[in-house]
Amino acid sequence: MSERVKITIDGKEAWVEPETTILEAARTLGIDVPTLCHNPALEPYGACRMCTVEIVGKGWSQLVTSCNYPIRREMEVLTASDRVVRGRRMLVELLLARCPDAPLFQEMAARYGVGRPRFETQQADLCYLCGLCVRVCHERVGAKAISFVGRGVEREVATPFFKISEACIACGACEFICPTGAIKVSDITDKPIRPLPLEFDMGLRGRGNIYIPFPQAVPNVPVIDRAHCLYFQAGTCRTCEEFCPPHAIDYSQEDEFLDVDVGAVVVATGFDPFDARDKPEFGYGRYRTVISGLEFERLASASGPTQGKIKIDGKVPQDIVFVHCVGSRDKQQGGEYCSRICCMYTAKQAHLAHDKIPGSNITVFYMDVRAFGKGFEEFYDRVRAEGITYRRGNPSEIYRRGDRLVVRAEDTLLGRTVEVEADLVVLATGVQPRADAAEVASMLSLERGEDGFFQELHPELRPVDTKRRGIFLAGTVQSPKDIPDTVAQAKAAAAGVIVELSKLRRKAE
């Protein structure tokens, strides 16, 4: 444990381990030093010079780059002295002249008060040769597919002889790390890019190889996707392990198989949403602005891919149409049953959309409105009172007209076919038994109904029991239902378990 060194940055003191860089020390003090080529997962490169700071002493001063200057003795540093700021502004001006279309530099120019560059842009570029892509490819990914080629202003990032690369593994790290969007994986390789969709966000955004599956995950810790993790695939990277402060990452962990003797089992394996691609007439999967109910949930969620803003491809829709009963009450696709939750969740979503997009035009096409629960009818009234239009008729088709969508339906109360234009269509996709229901049922020797949901012992009197003693059902595994009903069933199942276990214990005594 070597002696700590004192450093004073902009008047604030800190004691640091020797070899700590000035930038690291500044960050611990909460001082923001701008960087353009720095990334904590990579070796500092010192190319952009934005992180330059001034070390001051008695009668002398020295400009150094803080990202790679190791602190070895006591020193005083200014991160925004006049000299530093002057230089930074010139750097921004030079970069803006090179890359006028990069929002990054436009923002920096605004931040540092840099006006129109005094230099002409000969050929606008997005790349400013920060080297982040090259460095991540060499240091972390290990593919070494790209490097710098050429000298001076001719310098560029390229593959050997500018050929399509065989070494590139299409991991996307270069594209991800590039601050201006200058490099694309498709420029480097022909190999198909494998997007990693965040499953909980219905694929509306991507995720990394290490990620927390959803905000309420229990335990709320990240998991590693072995199939794509670079360490497991190629033995490289290990960035997560390096950066985890309590060193919690252990690549040697394996699945554990536990044998547990239990007296009762509660089957609460849930449901799968209906895949609206099975109803091709709605164009789901073809049109980006036709989305499912769950996708809307994620858009509306503050922890979702758009932080709660309803937008598709950056655009906020003004005319929104909701379609009931997609994959429900249908003898052809999905299930013949009613999914129970859609009428109310659609009303809720219509209400949210109305709230989040003032002035929006919202229409709900329904066949029936099943507002059966406590407060449900009142909520339905409220939603219509807000100006959301309910039209009776189940749409038959959705197609494109220009850059808008057209929902074709018969308004059965009007008695004629209408074409309603929309910027966004939300399909109230229904509930289906899970894809592995047959497997689970056979594992537990349980019966399922014709509709595929697990069979309760008696539809009225024994809603959570099954034919097998000690095995209970709770939630949508048994039939479509919403949260209050699920909770009620769960409590009932728990009560069933308690009764069963106490019986068993009494027997044992």
Binding site: P280, E281, C325, S396, E397, Y399, A409, T412
Partner: protein, 378 residues
């Protein structure tokens, strides 16, 4: 005319209808006519009787089957229309005159077009080989069923010939029924003449007992549909020519050394697509033709828009002759930059080509059968 709705509803299982409106909502003519099949079904459920003779809109239906494939309760609204038409045809009053003529011609001359029976083989002119007659030969591998329009209509005859040429090139042993071939009856049935249709069915089965065949192919999806789905037990499988063409290309038995440099799009015929689920084979063929730049229309496959050629519409003008669906279809094709609109059905070919001519867009778009494109590339 009064039809007992209780019986009718039971016969067509209308009681389960929840009036969702998907049938009318999907009906291609519902925007341009007052044909509202849901409302008709509702009447059948609520009223004691209905009078089909008051519904001239009944003749607007093209039998595209969109209503039926959309219905969540497995009801067949298209059959309801045919059923109601049946009453009118039974009465003999109130049917459009050309429909009556077509029906008559089918039974007296074996074709719906009013041509002489003897001329049914006229299409072979121009072929450099003999087309065998299965009734003479007694057996064949492939029964080539021509159909009325492909046999007689000069615009369609090249397609018929092209197909025969390909069979020959591929070394397939095929034969037709010559002038003894009768109308398949698909449109007959659509126009409501159920008994007449049954007669045609029985007539065919009698004839086919006179020869042996391994399989059957039809030029028109309408004929294909009838034989495949409505002729009861068939001794051999029935195919549409696109299925066979796709197979021949895949197996390498048909080679396309030539090129067709064009931007091509494809219009799904209702009787091939929505009726029988054949969407991929025609596209496969088109994309195998060298030089073709293929792109789908927005409304394609299950969302294709009917050309208004089926369901007897070749003879029934309908209540709105101004707004033709074929015109919109042609405009859609042109607006996406297509130079050729490919089809696989003679009715589609005729109606769409007619639309091109009426709109004066001959220089911008050509309507061609897939076989015509294949032949160009041969």
């Amino acid at each position: 005319m009064k039809v007992d709705t209780q019986e009718f509803a039971k016969e067509y299982t209308l009681l389960e209808c929840i009036q969702c409106g998907r049938c009318t909502g999907g009906c291609p003519v519902s925007l341009k006519t007052s044909l509202n099949i849901r409302s008709i079904i509702y009447e059948c459920l609520i009223e004691d009787t209905v009078d089909p003779s008051r519904l001239d809109v009944l003749w607007d239906c093209t039998n595209c089957l969109t209503c039926t494939i959309r219905c969540p309760k497995d009801i067949h609204p298209a059959d309801v229309i045919i059923g109601l038409r049946g009453y009118i045809v039974g009465e003999g009053r109130g049917l459009p005159p050309r429909v009556r003529d077509a029906l008559k011609s089918a039974f007296t001359r074996g074709n719906t077009l009013g041509y002489a029976t003897e001329g049914r083989n006229g299409w072979v002119e121009g072929l450099d080989f003999e087309v065998p007659n299965v009734l003479d030969a007694g057996e064949t591998d492939l029964l080539y069923y021509i159909g009325c329009t492909p046999a007689y209509d000069p615009r369609i005859q090249p397609v018929t010939r092209a197909l025969a040429t390909v069979f020959r090139r591929a070394g397939i042993d095929f034969a037709t029924m010559g002038v003894d071939e009768q109308c398949c009856g698909n449109e007959i049935r659509r126009m409501g003449e159920a008994d007449g249709f049954q007669g045609l069915v029985e007539g065919f089965h009698e004839m086919r007992r006179e020869f042996k065949a391994q399989r059957m192919v039809a030029v028109s999806p309408h004929c294909f549909n009838a034989f495949k789905n409505e002729y009861g037990e068939m001794p051999f499988p029935v195919y549409h020519y696109t299925q066979m063409m796709a197979d021949l290309l895949e197996q390498g038995r048909l080679k396309l050394p030539g090129e067709v440099r064009a931007k091509v799009t494809y219009h799904d015929p209702c009787f091939l697509g929505k009726h029988n689920g054949i969407y991929d084979e025609p596209r496969y063929i088109l994309q195998r033709i060298p030089g073709v730049e293929f792109q789908d229309l927005d409304r394609s496959r299950e969302r294709s828009v009917c050309c208004e050629g089926g369901g007897g519409r070749m003879w029934a003008e309908g209540t709105n002759i101004k707004d033709r669906l074929a015109h919109q279809r042609v405009r859609d094709a042109i607006s996406m930059g297509a130079e050729v609109l490919a089809v696989a059905c003679p009715f589609c070919l005729l109606t769409l080509e007619d639309a091109v001519k009426t709109l004066g867009l001959d220089s911008q778009l050509r309507v061609m059968d897939i076989m015509e494109l294949v032949q160009k590339a041969m």
